[in-house]
Symmetry: C2
Subunit: 165 residues, 2 copies
């Protein structure tokens, strides 16, 4: 009975979809988890903000190589202008540099400098150090599967979100 796709809720008479409820719960859980992660990140000095923060920006460059500012903005939860400003700030700190873009004269590619790569390495090591102390009761396989399902949900949400633009 519990496994039925839809069933009636005694009392209200409303139709309750168990799977939908489970997904809703997962979404709320993800949100709460995010806030805790962000709080931990801030306390440890790993990040200041998230969407417009340097860590994610540098991570994109570290994983994908040189990108233009608009490209980075597209894959981050913030605006093009915000990323532009961050890029300028990081460039001022010598963590990234602008290099010529063969496909676009005006829109330069942003690339980690030696210093920037080193800084990212430190931050990533810090993240891994934190991560290594967590999930002691969980197996690696479970964690990977969880990440995979969260990613699928994430994609679903994105698609759904873009449909009502």
């Amino acid at each position: 009975m519990e496994a039925m796709a839809a069933r009636h809720n005694r009392g209200t008479g409303a139709i309750v979809d168990g799977k939908a409820a489970a997904i809703a719960e997962l979404m709320l859980e993800v949100a709460q988890c995010f806030f805790r992660i962000r709080a931990l990140g801030q306390k440890t000095g790993l990040i200041t903000s998230w969407g417009g923060g340097a860590f994610g920006f540098m991570r994109s460059l570290a994983l994908l190589g040189p990108l233009t500012v608009p490209q980075i903005a597209q894959m981050r939860p913030t605006s093009r202008q915000r990323m532009q400003r961050l890029a300028d700030e990081l460039a001022a700190e010598g963590l990234v540099e602008f290099i010529d873009n063969p496909k676009h004269r005006r829109s330069k590619l942003v690339q980690l400098t030696r210093k920037g790569a080193a800084r990212y390495g430190e931050l990533n090591a810090q993240l891994l150090a934190i991560a290594s102390t967590m999930g002691t009761a969980l197996g690696e396989a479970d964690i990977r599967k969880t990440a995979e399902i969260v990613r699928q949900l994430s994609d679903d949400v994105k698609v759904r979100s873009e449909r009502l633009r």
Copy 2:
């Protein structure tokens, strides 16, 4: 080999803990997913903000019954003062009301009004409607397990975070 708890990363010589990397990845995935959920919530009008928003506040009351403002603030990712203000605003809208607290004369209990409960019901139904269109490729069992593991991670992060207060 891949399943070993720790192994050397060719090239850098750094010790790579596969499980830690998986947890780090999961945390980043959760963060990205949150931003997409928030964006969807805002587009659909379900929420405006998250931490200081009305939905989470009302949900706490709907699930747990009357609570004091400080109690609500403790379980939400925001400050006591913020929740106080939100409580006042919601009271002004007639969605919640303050009732006498037998255990504390000054700190009243906040409770959903009839109108507030109805409003929460609508919002929750909207959330379920959205949720029911997602995760079509996933089974309910997988979703529940995912939520459970995210919750465990969330708790781990919280504990870790509170240790360095």
